[in-house]
């Protein structure tokens, strides 16, 4: 019974909050805090049920699949919900100050619309992670995409509007590719339920094409190289808390669906050759993204390209987790890496927002000269960088370590090389920022002092990005629940 309420509140809580924040524009922050409380409670209830009783299923409307829609919570879903909750909570605290700080009309407008859009994004993510139905996933993808685009456009300047427009085109076209795949799957298997599909899907031309369409759409949404072109401008030009949400969560929604498709519903079509292709694209993303990050003139662009690179690591999970031997090592490694990246990237974008706030720009080469970045922000950026590079004891290290072990166990040494080169490049671009932008200039002071809550939330996420690694055993255990193979 508790689980049913958890399912309902995790989705409907933020959804109703979004509607209320629209009706009462001045109460946005309070509504969001209430939603955070409700979802946190619901999540705790759910995680207890999952730890005690295994995978939880809710048959919406009392109808079971194939006619009805099933919601499902396994270890993976619960982990994703936790990351979403933590980051959304941090963004709620941060944004309460971020949008309020300049008292002009424009920022009042922005704050008024930020809250409902943000809550829609949150509802869409929770609905996505709980869904076990590929058509329902399409609806959540559209909710997610609309909210993300509208949030990017909220920045309102020329570049933000243009990148939002491009983002919308990519996002809508990708959704249609996905939906066409769903149509073919339904025509062939007469169901859209993930679990039933796992039993019914037999390799054949129709399903190959269907899966290719769905995967193509999702890869564009997940911004895997070479379909990443829309990401850096969109993520770099959005307001800072929005950038954090996009980089930490939104792209991972598409990645999550890819996992569900290739490891569960269509596991019978997952061949080693396909897995190697995914891995290859991931490797290319790591190298291309990191190399580009090195040469970005602006801090937010650098962090955005770093996202392109870090997303590549996630796709190494495909060739590594598909193998029997050490598969679970890679599976848990990749997902811990995902959580680590989400926290670290949130910290980085929030810090970048703080710097932008203090200095009025984020040109890396000029930052050191004119402003003195307060130690908390420096520390937060450094800690997050630690996790991004993958130095012990951070959670980035834990994730990479598991992935490395898996590739060594399986003799796929080429991924080891890629990961090591990627780490070196990450170290280079993090150090570039730390040495050039954060150097202390004796007399410089920040033109605008940074509100403490904005600094402390960034730091908290950075601490989480490191500290999560110390308790990495717990998520690994959680991920065991409902893992797609025995």
């Amino acid at each position: 019974m508790t689980a049913s309420w958890s399912f309902a509140l995790l989705v409907l809580g933020p959804l109703m909050a979004a509607a209320l924040a629209f009706v009462f524009p001045r109460r946005g922050r309070g509504v969001a805090l209430a939603a955070a409380g409700i979802t946190a409670g619901a999540w705790v209830g759910l995680v207890r049920e999952v730890m005690a009783g295994g995978v939880q299923i809710q048959r919406v409307g009392g109808w079971s699949a194939p006619l009805g829609i099933d919601l499902r919570a396994d270890g993976l879903a619960v982990l994703m919900l936790m990351v979403t909750g933590l980051i959304s909570g941090a963004v709620t605290l941060y944004s309460g100050r971020y949008f309020r700080d300049a008292h002009d009309l424009e920022s009042a407008h922005r704050e008024r619309y930020f809250w409902p859009l943000f809550l829609f994004l949150w509802a869409a993510l929770n609905a996505l992670f709980l869904s076990a139905d590929i058509f329902n996933l399409y609806v959540t993808l559209e909710l997610l995409g609309f909210a993300a685009v509208a949030l990017v456009a909220l920045a309102g300047n020329r570049e933000a509007l243009k990148s939002a427009m491009r983002y919308l085109f990519v996002s809508l076209a990708a959704s249609l590719f996905y939906l066409l795949g769903v149509a073919l799957v339904y025509g062939q298997c007469a169901t859209v339920d993930l679990t039933l599909l796992a039993a019914k899907a037999q390799p054949g031309p129709t399903l190959w094409v269907a899966l290719a369409l769905m995967t193509g759409g999702l890869l564009a949404k997940a911004a895997l190289f070479p379909l990443h072109f829309w990401l850096p401008p969109a993520h770099a030009n959005a307001p800072a808390p929005v950038s954090a949400l996009l980089s930490a969560l939104v792209v991972k929604g598409a990645f999550y669906i890819l996992l569900r498709l290739w490891f569960e519903a269509f596991h019978s079509l997952n061949t080693p050759a396909v897995a190697q292709v995914f891995g290859g694209l991931g490797a290319a993303a790591i190298l291309w993204g990191s190399a580009n990050a090195l040469f970005q003139p602006r801090l937010k662009l650098l962090v955005a390209y770093s996202t392109v690179a870090q997303l590549g690591y996630l796709f190494l999970l495909f060739p590594l987790a598909a193998a029997r031997d050490g598969g679970f090592l890679a599976w848990s490694g990749g997902l811990i890496f995902l959580a680590a990246h989400a926290c670290a990237k949130t910290a980085m974008f929030l810090t970048a927002g703080n710097i932008l706030h203090a200095a009025g720009h984020d040109r890396i080469k000029d930052l050191g000269g004119i402003t003195h970045v307060p130690p908390i922000s420096t520390f937060a950026f450094g800690l997050a960088g630690l996790s991004l590079i993958g130095l012990p004891p951070s959670s980035g290290f834990a994730g990479k370590w598991l992935l490395l072990s898996a590739s060594l166990v399986q003799g796929q040494w080429w991924w080891v090389v890629v990961m090591l080169v990627g780490s070196l490049l990450a170290a280079a671009y993090v150090m570039r920022v730390l040495t050039r932008a954060f150097t202390r200039v004796p007399d410089a002071t920040a033109p605008h002092p940074i509100p403490p809550v904005m600094e402390w939330t960034a730091l908290a996420m950075a601490v989480l990005a490191v500290g999560f690694g110390l308790v990495a055993r717990w998520p690994a255990e959680l991920l065991r629940v409902g893992v797609p193979w025995p």
Binding site: M16, A18, V23, V60, W63, Y113, A150
Partner: protein, 325 residues
Amino acid sequence: MDREIAMMSHVFDWILVLLVLALAWRSLNDCDLFRGVIQFIALGLLLAVAWLRLRAPDVALAEAAVGSGLTGALILSALVRMRQRERRGVPASASSDTSRTLQSGTSNRSRVLIGALSLALLTALGWAVFRFSAQSSGLAVESLAKLPESGVTNPVTAVLLNFRAYDTLLEIGVLLLAIVGVWALRRGERPGDDLRERPLLMSLLRLLLPVLVLAAGYLLWIGASAPGGAFQGGALLAGALVLGLLAGLAGRFLRRERLLRTGLTLGVLVFAAAGLLALWRTGGLLQYPAGQGGAWILVIEAAALISIGLTLGLLYLGGRPEEEK
């Protein structure tokens, strides 16, 4: 006799399909954008005929109202707005010269490349769809078997508001999200002209507006047992709202902002509250109490109708109504 019908419908199918494809191509690649939009509207109309032909009357109704009518009106008014700004604006850069759009943009090389890519896509799709068996019942048997328990007798309404009601709940969320996004983006123009100098139009509206509202209610009510429902009705309601906006009749209504916002969110809030109430009563999210399905669906649909009509109508306005305090 049957063979004659079969042959005739084959002829019909071929002409329809060719016409649809030709219109699709022309509407997107006509050198005159305005003409392209006109052909786009005609395409929607033909698609609605195709949906009827494929025994999907519910979808055909929605396509006729939303797909062709509203989308067409939306794009047309956006085109007018853009052209007006272009003429007002700076004698702009080369790319804003719209008469040139056929040649603009991508180079010939990449056109060929993308054309080849699209052909490959088409080939793969054709290969896939030719493999489908000619007969398959899909989930028709299951849905018809459970239809008596759903509370309505139109199977599509049963799927939308009972079997897969969760999808529909999220979709009403998408509608609300769209209008929030549009309002965040821009302020709408002061709508409408004064129609007192156009007596003929005014008398047409006097007739048309009530008929539209009546037809919306009719479609909502009949949706339980025949093609129709909240979306189709909502689209007609939106048509009424658009006319009201164009005629400058809705100005006072647009100033009541709290009321407007409440109306827009009504669908989501009632639907979600119904879901939670059902959870409390029966222990299952959106699981209506036995035997009460029809009543629950009607309440939800009525709330959704208002929100859908308002949302689609206000999308036409293209932005938030007035300056907010």
